[in-house]
Amino acid sequence: MNVLQSNFFELITIIFYCILIFVPLLVGVVLALYADRKIWAAVQKRRGPNVVGPFGLFQVPADGLKFIFKEIILPDSADKTVFLIAPIITLALSIAAWAVIPVQAGVVLANINVGILYIFAISSLGVYGILMAGWASNSKYPFFGALRSAAQMVSYEVSIGFVIVTVLMCVGSLNLSEIVLAQKNIWFFIPLFPMFIVFFISALAETNRPPFDLPEAESELVAGYQTEYSGMPFVLFLFGEYINILLMCAMTTILFLGGWLPPIDVYPLNAIPGFVWFILKVTLVFYMFAMVKAFVPRYRYDQLMRLGWKVFLPLSLLAVVLTSSILFFFKLAPGMS
C-alpha cells in the first residue's frame, strides 16, 4: 500500500495531464471535421454545414450525439469480442501517440528519448484496429477493405521510416523536443524539401485519406472496414481516424516545420507562446490535407502500390544515402564539427 500512496500524487498529475491533452484533442477533432467539410464545400462552390448553430459549427457535435443514441448493431455471424475491441484499439492507439508530442518548449507529457520511434511504433499498430474490424465483421467488403488498408499502411510505413531517418541524421537524437530545437537555424523542409513532399504524401496514405482512401472506397467497397459498424463503435473509428490525421499533421510540423518555433526569431513573433505557433502550423498542414481531399481523384490500387514501392522507396533510400554522405563529407553531422 505504501507504494501506491507514494505514487498516488504522481498518478493524479499524470491523469490531469492526460485530460489536458485529451480535451483539446477532442475539440481539435470536432473543428477538423467541420473544417474538412467546409473546405471541401468551398472548393466545390457549396455552402457546407451551415444550419446547426452559428456558421454550422454545432453540426459535428449534433452528428456525434445522433450516433451515440443510435443502436449498436452486432452482425449475427461476427466475432463479437474482436468486433467491439477493434474500434477501441483504433481510438486508444491514436490518442496514446499524443503523449510524446511537444507542443511548446518543455511542455510534453512524456519526454522520452525514443519519442519518434514511439510514435512510429504506435502508428504501425494502428493497422490492427482496421484488420480486426475487417476480419471480425465476417463480411466480404469489410474484409477486402481491411486487406487493402493493411497492405497500404505497411507499404507507406517503409518510406515514412526512411524519411524519418534522414531527419534524424540531421538531428542526432530521437527525442522530439531535440528534433524541434535542431531546427532553430533552418526548418528542415528547406534542405530536405523532397523528403517533405514524400512524407506528406505518405502521411496521406498512412491515414487512409483521399486520394488514397481505397480501404473505404465507396464505389467499390461500400464503406470498407467500417461497413458493418453503427452507432458508438463507428464514432470511435471516425474519431480515431481524425486523431491520427491530426497526429500526422503534428508529425509533419515537428519534423519539417520547426514545431513550436516562430518563423523568425524576432521580437513580436517570439513573444507569441510556442503552442500557438504549433497549433497554427498543424492547422496549415491540415488545410493542405483537406485541399488534397477536395481536388485530387482517387488512385487506382495498383497505382498506389507502384507509388509506394517503386517511387517513394527508392527515392527515400537515395535520400538517406545522399544526406548521410553530405553530412559526412562536409562535416555537418551532429557531433562531428
Binding site: L117, Y128, S173, Q303
Partner: protein, 204 residues
C-alpha cells in the same frame, strides 16, 4: 515492493497468460492476436529494463510488420475444418521434443558460462562509458563498430531470403497488359493543344 516491480509482475503475468492462450485457443486468428499481446508485454518488460530502443524496435519490427503479415495469412485461411478436430495431443511429441531441445540448450549455456562477478559486468555492460550515453547511442556505437560484420551478414541473409521468395513466386504470364507510366507521361507527339473558338467547334 517498488512500482517497477509491480509493473514487471503485471507485464509478465499478461505475457505468460497470453502466450498460453496462443497455443490453447481454437481460433487461429485469436492465437495471432494473443501473440501480438505477448509481444507488446515483452516490449513493456524491455522498457522496465531501461532498454527503450529495443522495446520500440520490437514493436515496430515484430508487431508492426511481421505479425501483420502473419495475421494476413492466417485471416485468409479457411480454418473451419481445423476448428473441428481438437486433438491437441496429436502434436504433443513434437512439442515435447522442441521443448526438451530448448531446455538442453539453456542448461548447456548455463553450465559453460562462468557466473563470476566480473563476467556479469562484461555481459551486461559491454561499453565502458555506458552510463553517460543514451540507449540508442550505446547500441549504435557497438553494433556498427565491433559487430559490423555480423550486422551486414544478417542483412545479406535477409536479402537472400527476399530474393529467394521473389524468384519462387514471380512468373511471367503472357498477354498481360501493363501500365508504363513513363510512356504515358511522355507522349507529347500524340496529344495536341487546340484553341477552340467559341460557337464554332473544330474538326478532328
Amino acid at each position: 515492493m517498488s512500482m517497477s516491480l509491480i509493473t514487471f509482475y503485471l507485464f509478465s503475468a499478461i505475457l505468460l497468460l497470453s502466450s498460453l492462450m496462443v497455443i490453447s485457443t481454437k481460433n487461429p486468428v485469436h492465437s495471432v492476436l494473443f501473440l501480438i499481446l505477448a509481444f507488446l508485454n515483452a516490449a513493456g518488460i524491455f522498457v522496465i529494463l531501461h532498454a527503450e530502443f529495443l522495446a520500440m524496435i520490437l514493436i515496430i519490427v515484430y508487431v508492426g510488420a511481421v505479425a501483420v503479415l502473419f495475421l494476413f495469412v492466417v485471416m485468409m485461411l479457411d480454418f473451419k475444418t481445423s476448428l473441428e478436430k481438437d486433438n491437441i495431443l496429436q502434436y504433443m511429441p513434437i512439442g515435447l521434443l522442441i521443448g526438451l531441445v530448448f531446455i538442453a540448450e539453456l542448461v548447456i549455456v548455463l553450465i559453460n558460462t562462468r557466473l563470476d562477478l566480473s563476467n556479469i559486468q562484461i555481459l551486461s555492460n559491454p561499453l565502458d562509458n555506458f552510463s553517460d550515453q543514451s540507449n540508442t547511442e550505446a547500441i549504435g556505437s557497438i553494433l556498427y563498430t565491433n559487430y559490423v560484420l555480423y550486422f551486414q551478414l544478417s542483412g545479406v541473409i535477409l536479402l537472400v531470403a527476399m530474393v529467394g521468395s521473389i524468384v519462387l513466386t514471380l512468373r511471367d504470364r503472357e498477354g498481360v497488359k501493363r501500365q508504363i507510366v513513363s510512356e504515358q507521361v511522355d507522349r507529347k507527339g500524340k496529344i495536341e493543344l487546340v484553341d477552340v473558338k467559341s460557337g464554332e467547334g473544330i474538326d478532328i
